[in-house]
């Protein structure tokens, strides 16, 4: 990870829970004693459009958005959106994505095709790309809806922040009744 500020991008489709995931990330970094900024666009994106959330941490963070081509970690909630966001990453950046395809309207209507071999196309540029079957592991943890937390666990392994801060942030941000499942899901993700 480079010098001062670490840049994380979360991408996917409106309604997937990207905002909550980026909030858990931010909380973790604040607990670990870093300066944190995060940014995303609300509004139109909530109606099933593409969503990009930026999270940055370090000793002192200025811009709330990650300069294009300076992303260190790409956290993909959907495959095509992960592919679309690759130009935001620096060379050697890390990609972790959920193995999930959500067809956009043009594909639903049969007017366009969902891109093929997304996995291979990402791996070609970023050889250590990690594709996670979030749903399957979430079911194993006890609830299919905890897929994002599995992914968060996998992302956490690629960021140099102690486990205790991640768990504290989960405790603060996840509703009490869902906490146990989410803790399990997070730890399953951390095995990657």
């Amino acid at each position: 990870m480079k010098g001062q500020t670490t840049n994380i991008l979360l991408v996917g489709v409106g309604g997937q829970g990207i905002l909550l995931a980026s909030e858990i990330l931010s909380e973790t970094f604040m607990l670990a004693g870093f300066d944190v900024k995060k940014s995303e666009i609300h509004g139109m994106s909530q109606r099933g459009g593409s969503v990009v959330s930026h999270v940055r941490f370090g000793e002192k963070v200025f811009s709330p958005i990650v300069p294009e081509g300076e992303g260190d970690i790409l956290f993909g909630f959907e495959l095509m959106e992960t592919l679309r966001a690759l130009p935001l990453l620096r060379k050697g950046g890390k990609v972790v994505a959920n193995d999930l395809q959500i067809p956009p309207s043009s594909v639903l209507m049969g007017k366009a095709a969902y891109p093929e071999m997304v996995d291979e196309r990402i791996r070609e540029k970023f050889p250590d790309f990690l594709l996670v079957d979030g749903q399957r592991l979430a079911v194993k943890a006890g609830n299919a809806r905890a897929a994002n937390t599995v992914l968060l666990g996998a992302v956490s392994r690629r960021i140099d922040v102690a486990e205790e801060y991640w768990l504290q942030a989960l405790e603060r941000m996840v509703p009490a009744k869902a906490l146990d499942v989410n803790r399990k899901a997070f730890m399953l993700g951390r095995e990657f």
Partner: protein, 594 residues
């Protein structure tokens, strides 16, 4: 205590800490969450107003009674509130009054990207511009203090990247011991008859002169001297971008963006070699600095259109000999990635607007549109909207169109407007339509919520911002009272009923109103939206005619590889059971899911 807050959350917190008693506004991205957070502080009376003008008038009333107040809106909302604002500048205030204008450079969720710094100069009021969430909180408090100190409303300007970015904020307690509000007579100051206003205007000029004088020593206008060969004057999020792009250059960060600190700018200009201005949208600082006789470069290299970013600023300064902060190796763009299918926003599965736009498209209506989720009716495959200008414009646009087109074309003109937008500024348009006898049809899409901005209550939803039950305006009675003789209510999930109503009312050579009566699927309130039994496609019966795909429902997917010609498939995770697609299938292939 420290918390990570968005700019909007921090403004609400600042209002709380500063002892604000009244918070009001109208929802509009990116301003909405200020009031949604203000409502969590029980000490503040928080409410949604029907529009921004009313909101500001309510705030003025509370301020004249001595309460600290905050009023929030998006940039175009200030256009609506401009009438009271310009005269409020003359009356001044009693309790501190801050108007938050949340601007939207890049038009992430807006119809234009007007630069509301111009309003501060135009209305002759001070404006503060924070650069992160901590400043959002601090500047809200400072704005209230300046308001009282200089007897003026104060504008607090954010942009989308400030409103919706989160950063760490230090929390403090709420102030105590502020004066208790009460009615006070001060007519000469508050009744703006010409005789009184003539007395007030010179005071406004004097106030702005005093503020400009004080601006040069205000700590929120901050000179940061580093490498002094280059100096950049900037404010708001652009300051963060400049620091990111060029950590070594000297900066003059303006917290008060109107009036400008002339002495401080002169002194900065003398201390640095080459002087630049980095500002989003208009050359607001640049023109004023040039008028001071100081040479400065700005819009010659910085784009006027859209929002800025660290990389845009780096690009703009290429060849100007400034050392960039970081230089990372950017991988070549994947040519294939650029050709990916786009993912535009869409109406939700089960949205009550979908069937209406499908029918309008089938009837070849000329739809004058309005601001809300239903503006998405513009997108394919519904593709049925011809105009969308501002809140409430649909009705006036329809009246204007039927004034001039042929008798046959008049029948095609249909205005489409949501419940919240109708109350915001459609009622007067409808009064005009009836009064001037314009034979157009108005469809009020009453989904009982202000949906686009994230489900805010309004006078037709039956609840207040504080989630207390409230009178629900009867839109049908309201239209009748305005003089519309033909008002009917339809179930928009019944395509036949909707089609019949639209056809008949479009034919009618008089003003008519059709109100749809199904709620937004996202309203979670008990008993409002009910998910019905789901639907599914029987693949054997599906002929692949694609009629159901014309709805553009996210739950319906085309499977090209299946059946003889391909078949439709309904995703049970997304289907809400609205029943609209079933009515389009001529082959009975869509039925209740088993």
């Amino acid at each position: 205590m420290r918390e990570i807050l968005s700019g909007n959350e921090a403004i609400a917190r600042g209002a709380f800490e500063a002892g604000v008693l009244v918070a009001t506004g109208y929802p509009g991205t990116p301003s909405t969450e200020i009031l949604e957070n203000a409502v969590s502080y029980r000490e503040i009376d928080s409410s949604w107003a029907p529009n921004e003008k009313v909101a500001l008038e309510v705030a003025i009333g509370a301020s004249f009674a001595g309460a600290r107040t905050i009023v929030t809106m998006k940039h175009v909302g200030v256009n609506v509130a401009a009438d009271p604002l310009f005269t409020l500048s003359y009356t001044g205030i009693k309790g501190g009054l801050v108007l938050v204008t949340a601007d939207d450079p890049e038009m992430h969720s807006s119809q234009n990207e007007q630069d509301n710094r111009n309003y501060a100069k135009f209305a002759k009021v001070p404006m503060l511009e924070p650069a992160d969430s901590q400043e959002c909180k601090d500047f809200t408090k400072l704005a209230l203090e300046l308001s009282e100190q200089y007897d003026t409303p104060v504008l607090l300007r954010t942009t989308t990247r400030i409103s919706h970015s989160k950063s760490i904020v230090e929390l403090n307690d709420r102030v105590t011991g502020l004066p208790v509000p009460a009615l006070v007579s001060n007519a000469a100051k508050q009744v703006m008859l010409p005789a009184n206003a003539k007395v007030r205007h010179p005071l406004v000029e004097d106030r702005m002169r005093r503020l400009a004088e004080a601006a040069s020593t205000m700590s929120i206008n901050r000179m940061e001297l580093r490498d002094n060969s280059v100096g950049i004057i900037t404010s708001g999020v652009c300051y963060q971008y400049v620091r990111e792009a060029f950590p070594q250059v000297s900066t003059l960060k303006l917290g008060l963006v109107n009036p400008l600190p002339v002495k401080l700018i002169r002194s900065f200009a003398e201390k640095v070699g080459r002087l630049y201005v980095v500002e989003e949208l208009d050359p607001f600082f640049e023109e004023q600095i040039l008028a001071m006789g100081i040479g400065v470069t700005g819009k010659e290299i910085i784009p006027v259109c859209g929002e800025l970013s660290p990389e845009k600023i780096r690009k703009a300064f290429a060849g100007h000999g400034i050392e960039a902060g970081s230089a990372v190796e950017v991988p070549e763009a994947d040519a294939g990635a650029i050709a990916l299918p786009p993912r535009p926003p869409n109406m939700c599965p089960g949205c009550p607007h979908r069937g209406v736009f499908y029918t309008l498209n089938q009837l070849k209506a000329y739809v004058t549109g309005d601001i809300g989720c239903y503006t998405l009716g513009f997108l394919p495959p519904l593709s049925s909207m011809e105009t969308c200008v501002c809140m409430g414009a649909s009705i006036g646009n329809a009246t204007g169109a039927v004034k001039v087109v042929s008798e046959d074309e008049k029948k095609r003109v249909v205005a489409v407007i949501g419940d919240s937008t109708f109350i915001h500024s459609g009622i007067t348009g409808l009064a005009d339509m009836v009064y001037n006898n314009a034979p157009a049809t108005v469809v009020i899409l009453d989904n009982r919520i202000t949906a686009m901005t994230g489900r805010q209550d309004n006078p037709a939803s039956g609840f207040t911002l504080m989630n207390e039950p409230a009178h629900r305006i009867d839109l049908s009675q309201l239209c009748s009272a305005l003089g519309v003789k033909h008002v009917r209510t339809v179930n928009p999930f019944d395509l036949e009923e909707t089609r019949k109503a639209l056809k008949e009312e479009m034919e009618r050579p008089e003003t008519s109103v059709i109100i749809t009566n199904k709620p937004c699927v996202l309203v979670k309130r008990e008993g409002v939206f009910k998910k019905g039994p789901l639907f599914a496609v029987e693949a054997e019966k599906c002929t692949g005619c694609r009629a159901c795909l014309k709805l553009g429902c996210p739950a319906i997917q085309w499977k090209s590889g299946e059946g003889k010609n391909g078949v439709s498939y309904i995703d049970p995770m997304l289907c809400t059971g609205c029943d609209v697609c079933r009515q389009l299938c001529k082959f009975d292939a869509i039925g209740r899911a088993k």
